[in-house]
Symmetry: D5
Subunit: 120 residues, 10 copies
């Protein structure tokens, strides 16, 4: 069975911004089509579109810090399932949003395409 | 944390028209694919499709005045989240519709695409 | 505020046919992509796809009479909202169907695209 | 008002097969894009995609017999509404499935496109 | 009526991996567009996209072993309905997931397209 | 080796119209997406889009007579290669156009798609 | 054989503008997707996209006058071939451009789609 | 460097038919989207669309024999380059056509997509 | 007839970079989908995709300076024909490239779509 | 003006294979959609599809070594123009093909999309 080491994301810091309309439920959908990391098994690069959808509470995520954070996976060895869940946890902890969904839509590997969807 | 100044939309006035079928619930969907404003952080232009969907009550919005109103954002420095919410508020105040949804579907910036959806 | 005159559709008569399967609920979806009328404000021609979806009761609409009826709007000055509601009323009165939805999906005018949906 | 004669489908026989997994609900979706019959009014050929979706009970329909059955409409004079309902009845009687939906998605005639959907 | 022999999948073994996030419901969607087997009636090859969607419990399926397993149908004579159900059973038994759906989206045969969907 | 009997198209007559602009070279492109005939080998129906492109000389083909002519293949047993060439010859003899191209774009049979193109 | 009366376009006047760059060959491509006229045979409305491509010499066509000119065909009874050639002649006479191509891409009638292309 | 063994295609025989129109140049385009063989290096299955385009001389290829011939590669270990060239040679030898082009449009392997085109 | 004032592009300066491969002909294709300026006649905003294709000689255009240059048209009143030609001249003068093509692909105005193409 | 350091590709070696059909001209088209490198100016990652098309002479490029070679740009700081030309030179030197074209089709940066095409 596969083992996971500790994920240490030290290269980038997600930055919260004040939500300008905290009294209203509205949805923010974000697509980042240039996510890349390394396959923990083969060492080859993986590619994905990361999709984020949330209803903010007191804070929203600043977009440039999000881009830098997602770029920081470039040299990490991390599976499809784990990277999507790690991004979910990071946003959940930062924003404590009213709803949150994170999708990792990965390019095929060995002719197999995988999409991971975490919501909560 | 980001700060927002007062939004002063003085260049255009949304015009209400009498709803010719006020006794019936029906839906009006409007797409305006040529919305542009200025990024409050970088000063660069932003571009979006603004989508409006509502069930009118006593009034409907006149389409030419809507176009002029949306054009009036051309020189405003305003974030994605704020412009979508401001348009929602303006239509809500003008029409008091039975339902209203406003979507700001923005072109990518820094390879990050954002869609803001406000409904109520 | 806008005013509407009386709509007098004298050029065409919608024809009912006996529903061959009145004991069963089934759906009839019709698309008519070549609807055109005149804008009551500018006088310019407007173009739309008219979409009709209904569950018939005792009668169904004969398709050639429907085509002639929709063609009869060619010289009428009528707004998007009104033409869609007028078609809805005509079919409602003719067929008294179990459900009925009429959509007027209009080409953009002044870069603004409008879709009107009436159901009941 | 239109009249319908007796439909006599003598050229083809739908063949049932034993459902290999009768203890489980699963869905079978079938598309037949080459359906053609004759318009009972004009005599011109009509063309449609017939779509079938069902959850089988004890039997499933054998696909070659289905193809021959659908081909047998080639020389029949039958309306859009009737052909879709007739196919629905034939499958209902043969298979007695847990659910069944039949759609007749017809090519436009006189610029009018019609889709008939029967489910039960 | 058709008969089915025993399916003996001896050429490949599906491998379970530990689910790194068992305390959370998340969805894994997998597409395998290069499935091929043999028609039990005609002997001709069949082709399909196999789609798998599940919420894992304690284990997830390792993707390379899945690919080898799906490749192992290449020389089997098996119907559309049976292959989809067999794959469903194999994953159900291996993973005991919280939800599972398997779809066999087959290329047309005799101009008839078939999609089999099993969920549970 | 295959044999061809005599083709006798007696059910429809192509009608020439006077070319209103014979002093100028211009192109007429026609698509007829509802062509069907019978396979001379299997007896099953075949389906095709017939595409015609020509520069007229003294006459153009009247479109309703063309439609009736193409419909007249419905009960003929004729191969892909022969039907396309027969249509080419009929138009060539009728119109003696400055250029002529006829394409028979047939639906797949046995998973093999065929397009026949005759020009002269 | 068909007969053509005199075309009298009195409702609109095409307006020339000075070409701001007459010393250089450059191309102007124009699409007008809302052309409608009347079929001289059946009286039913016809619909087309008119496409114009030219290299201007001393003048270019003013776009609003072009729109009004094309709108003026709304009540004319005119065939596909003739309307395309008439528009070609009107632009040729007005602009005497270095090259000119006019295409009338008409919606299907009786399931037959026609495209007329005139260039010179 | 790679080595190639002898290709022995014993399972299927391409069958020529008499060209019904040998006095005229016309083109036959064939697509076969379900080609599969085995990678000579990894042993994994490869998938491709085989496209054939030719102007026949005295003979044309019978389509069912072509399908059986292309199916006969299912268990062969053969590279992209070699299979495309072998098919080209087989058709060249059988038909001696006036022109011939064969394309092997292969599914990606290791994220690399390859298309081989042979013409002569 | 239309008149043009002097174009004064003072807000941005196109910057040349040394061509790293001046001894070889190669092509650089650039798309800028967010061009906007003002209609000199109506005052309304216009929108276009600007496409540039060139074979460089000694210099290439730096992309950020190009973006700022194209953004500088935001407040200019300039026609479709003139803006495309002005961009062509600016790049021609800056780079003296071996070939150059500039296309202004404008959004429809008054339902008329225009594309201007300058090459030299 | 921009400066370029020495490119040292030490991580991967392109491997030639013997061309199995050197007596015939045929074309090999390769797409690699997952190319990534670093922008020499901003340090941000760039993404591209690399497309290669060549007619081989005595050797062809082995596809796995090509994939590793293209992956080796992941940590290089290199411009769009230079990376495309460097790949062209590497393949030219390795294969000395009869023709060669290399295209770098890069994702937009700052809303500007660039495609570099080198052929020889």
């Amino acid at each position: 069975m596969q083992k996971y080491g500790t994920i240490n994301i030290k290269d980038a810091t997600l930055e919260p911004w004040e939500n300008p309309f905290p009294d209203r439920n509205y949805t923010i959908d974000i697509d980042f089509p240039e996510f890349t990391c390394l396959c923990p098994r083969s060492g080859y690069p993986d590619f994905a579109i990361i999709k984020i959808s949330y209803i903010p509470d007191k804070t929203i995520v600043e977009l440039k810090s999000l881009k830098l954070y997602l770029n920081s996976f470039r040299d990490k060895s991390i599976s499809h399932e784990e990277s999507t869940n790690v991004i979910f946890d990071a946003l959940k902890n930062l924003l404590n949003p009213r709803t949150l969904k994170v999708t990792g839509d990965f390019n095929p590997r060995g002719n197999v395409k995988t999409i991971i969807t975490v919501s909560g």
